[in-house]
């Protein structure tokens, strides 16, 4: 009899035993999924800095985020927002996995030298960087603080999660712009398949709603300029889409070899069954128009999962609400799944685009949707102008059979990454 803990290729199966999210849609997985399933948009005017003169004056922000209960007031002062968000999301995931107690202390009888952390980010602690550059220019070089480097470095969130929870396996940051969260989860799964570690805390975190970053994204014409109606701005696949809405937040999953999870009696939420990643090698920011790299990424993830396209219950698209992405991705998705493919959603209509956290948050949302069979609608989508063979979820959530999900992320740099997630209890 086949070993239930091994994949079709004989390597360890990778299961998910904890999930956490802090997003514009809520400061937990439950809140986030509820908001997204309602199709509510979370964009609003920026209030934390003066937007006078800016081409874009709104974003999808994590409102009223208080890191103190988890991070502590002293530590919060020396940790950039990007890491505060990541630490709080990791806490939720680790508590669910039974590896952290309610009081934040270590829990579970595991070998912490075999726990890794892989948490990606697009740009790391850019809030701190901008603040300190301004300090240097306005107050002088001697006022630059000693914490700038440990606060801004891209690997800070991974290192801080390892530090807080005493995980001594590798702690890495994967930086592939808007694909960072998906790549992090995929690379983390590969570490477990390779037998290097038993558990990986994986995901992405981003907090880049800063004056300079917003000005730069606006200069690229990447952002929606719908300043007079922020909540209608993120509208993936819609004819009136005019760019993405900058978001912030973090998504974290606890991955574990199936054998390790079974041995300690952990509750399995699902499985990272498939992962693939490609690079367009076409242009530093524009997607390859035929979506060749995206197609290869999706097909690769399906092959890795040993599933046929018709076994996928829904797709959580990258769906940024930019004219170029949504056109290329819709064509690529139809090429992979054919004209009668599964329902497709993009939850960025609700959350905005969380950049390096997007793929991780969307993996969490996709796993929940696959588990409940309730697929969130694309918020603000009223008049699709993409390939009409794409079965977009519009208006209301869609009920489907419990089945695997495919989640895509694509990033500046030409990065494409896809995950196939199987909900617990599903079998082919």
């Amino acid at each position: 009899m086949a070993d239930v803990h091994l994949r079709h290729d004989g390597r360890p199966r990778v299961v998910i035993t904890g999930i956490g999210a802090v997003t514009p849609a809520g400061t937990s997985v439950a809140e986030t999924v509820a908001t997204v399933t309602d199709g509510r948009s979370c964009a609003s005017p920026i209030t934390t800095w003066d937007t006078e003169g800016h081409a874009v004056t709104f974003a999808a922000q994590v409102a009223d985020f208080d890191p103190d209960p988890i991070v502590g007031p002293r530590e919060a002062r020396r940790v950039d927002r990007v890491s505060q968000l990541g630490l709080v999301a990791a806490e939720e995931a680790l508590k669910q996995a039974g590896l952290t107690a309610d009081d934040g202390q270590p829990a579970g009888d595991i070998d912490r030298s075999r726990v890794a952390v892989v948490v990606g980010t697009g740009v790391g602690g850019i809030l701190t960087l901008e603040d300190q550059i301004e300090t240097r220019v306005t107050k002088g070089v001697h006022r630059v603080g000693p914490l700038l480097i440990p606060m801004m470095m891209s690997n800070a969130t991974a290192g801080l999660i390892a530090l807080r929870h005493g995980f001594h396996g590798a702690a890495l940051s994967v930086a592939t712009a808007c694909a960072s969260g998906t790549n992090s989860i995929g690379e983390a799964a590969d570490m477990i398949r390779a037998g290097r570690v038993d558990v990986v805390v994986a995901g992405g975190s981003e907090a880049a709603i800063t004056p300079t970053a917003m000005a730069a994204f606006a200069r690229m014409a990447a952002l929606s300029t719908r300043n007079d109606d922020p909540s209608a701005a993120s509208r993936p696949f819609d004819r009136d889409r005019d760019g993405f809405v900058m978001g912030e937040g973090a998504g974290i999953v606890v991955l574990e070899s199936a054998e390790h999870a079974a041995r300690r009696g952990a509750t399995v939420l699902g499985e990272v069954a498939g992962y693939a990643s490609t690079c367009d090698a076409h242009h530093i920011t524009a997607p390859q128009p035929e979506g060749e790299g995206a197609i290869a990424s999706m097909l690769g993830a399906l092959a890795d999962a040993n599933l046929d396209p018709d076994q996928i219950g829904h797709v959580n698209a990258h769906g940024t609400s930019t004219p170029l992405n949504d056109a290329a991705e819709s064509g690529a998705t139809v090429k992979v799944f054919g004209p009668a493919g599964p329902p497709v959603t993009s939850t960025k209509g609700s959350t905005g685009h969380l950049v390096g956290a997007a793929g991780a948050v969307e993996a969490v949302i996709a796993l929940q949707a696959a588990t409940t069979g309730i697929i969130p609608p694309v918020a603000n989508l009223v008049d699709p102008d993409v390939d009409d063979r794409l079965d977009l979820v519009m208006g209301q959530p869609r009920s489907v059979a419990v089945a695997p999900a495919l989640s895509n992320s694509f990033g500046f740099g030409g990065h494409n990454a896809s995950l196939v997630l199987i909900p617990a209890g599903w079998s082919a």
């Binding site: 020396r78 000693p146 914490l147």
Partner: protein, 83 residues
């Protein structure tokens, strides 16, 4: 500027940077042992004081500064020199 004012300012900086209760602070309070402050935190405390008194205290002068009182001494020296 008397010493009490300077010590008060060091207390203020400790409360701001280290989020400690002001009532536990004395001149013999050790940054490392009593306040669990690392070298980066000490630099931050001193930067608060530089800002408060419009001073520039070179990093190498912080070596060996282990207590609240020692930090006040350094500030007092610079305040005096600037007067």
């Amino acid at each position: 500027m008397n010493r009490t004012q300077i010590v008060d300012a060091v207390y203020d900086a400790c409360v701001e940077v280290l989020k400690v209760d002001r009532s536990i602070l004395t001149e013999t309070t050790s940054f490392a042992e009593d306040l669990d402050a690392d070298s980066l935190a000490l630099v931050e405390v001193v930067m608060e004081l530089e800002e408060a008194f419009d001073l520039r205290i070179p990093e190498d002068e912080l070596e060996g500064v282990s207590t609240v009182g020692a930090a006040a001494d350094i500030v007092a020296r610079h305040v005096e020199a600037a007067a």
